[in-house]
Symmetry: C2
Subunit: 286 residues, 2 copies
Amino acid sequence: MPSMLFEKTTVIGVGLIGASLALAMRKASLAASITGHGRNEANLQRAKEWSIIDSYELDPAKACEGADLVVLATPVGTFKSLVKGISGSLKPGAVVIDVGSVKGDLVYGIESLMPDMVHYVPCHPIAGSERSGIDTSSADLFEDRLCIITKTENTAVAAFNDVSELWRAIGSRVELLSPEEHDMIFGLVSHLPHLVAYALVNTVADMDPGSIKYAGNGFKDATRIAAGSPDLWRDIAAFNSENLLRFLDILKANIEGLSIYIREGDFKGLEEAFKRASELRKSIES
Amino acid sequence: MPSMLFEKTTVIGVGLIGASLALAMRKASLAASITGHGRNEANLQRAKEWSIIDSYELDPAKACEGADLVVLATPVGTFKSLVKGISGSLKPGAVVIDVGSVKGDLVYGIESLMPDMVHYVPCHPIAGSERSGIDTSSADLFEDRLCIITKTENTAVAAFNDVSELWRAIGSRVELLSPEEHDMIFGLVSHLPHLVAYALVNTVADMDPGSIKYAGNGFKDATRIAAGSPDLWRDIAAFNSENLLRFLDILKANIEGLSIYIREGDFKGLEEAFKRASELRKSIES
């Protein structure tokens, strides 16, 4: 492994993931200089003061000039317009990655916008949190975490290898999925649970918001992700809407099923439904 | 506060809560001897070996002979038949508490079964977990936790005071609610989230159970309570069915609302729904 994979790195969107990746790359000596770009100059200034980035640029195209690696770490809804904005200033041989939670069609859309000689590698580090912003960033965020790379037939082999190496060097395990598989799986185990948590908290809001002060650890755990950024999750829901609509229907059927057991007093049936869920949940670590 | 509130204590159901209460009472010198009762003799034997209890009895009536305090710590569905079984052996002046997660009508049902001169104080320590059994018990389980006492017009003042003192002595804050208020509030912030978690995991089971291995912390947090005991939660759902059916309807409406926003591409509406939930969730600690 080369000691310096990417001479100049540009991070677009210096939040939890972007700032943590900058810190992790710096810690592992994978970048000589890191430039940040974002909409909020005060945040970029703080990121510079905290040595998360070396410098920042308010113009995204300028931020990407001469970059060997560009990291797209803004909400997924901004990726395509960002790529349009920076494509003119990307140098031949540059590698662009995104760290978005949605892949699918978005990957093909981004690929089609990439200039010749620029190599795009779609990534999704499974390291998100309900927290956001540089205050919560950490050089260790990706350690022992999974990073999905959704390689397509258009992904350049050398760029794919370098990017895989990057994630491994900061402690992640790399796994490959197609963009479609990715959105099915993470729609189910990440996007759907977020929608459910939002709906659950809104049910409390509808019925008796004051009762939330009695919440124990069960409620806190179950709804922690409902504290996540509304705009981030709006974008994710928009880009994975087809899968999510299907999953929401199955979820509604499961909830209706529990209602029926309770209404009809079929508590044996209810217990069986609980058991089925309990067994699958216990198959992964707590 | 007397240094020894209850000379002889009997714990019926030596699981997470029962065993932890025994350990906590012992640590705070609130019981001279603790007798255990349960259906599983191997568990009682282990509880004795680990000095959680001093002795055990396989006959519940015998276990309660001479007890100053009897703790009902089995699933709520067993309480009434247990009380019928032990009422003949309870001594005058004995205090009976339960630690069940459901109150409401059950409290009045238990009250009506109590012999004269025996004092029942309905309690709900908010210290449950998806874990169960004595392996996970701890003398500190109730520290800095809330304990709800659902006092009624029939609750004896002296017994209520002693029991409140007991919870405070092991580190809990005591708060009063009526049995009805209790079931409304905890139906909303505890029982409903359990049903939702079971339904969510069953949705994964229906769609693609293998995808669970990709689950990150968000999914793990959101579904941790789905690992809880199916029989315990079956009973709770049965005893709080009226509230739960109402809440499940509101939940379904919220989920349907999210579906409609997504289907119609109203992502501004979706974001507003997320924001509403996010703000209420952020009003309590993470």
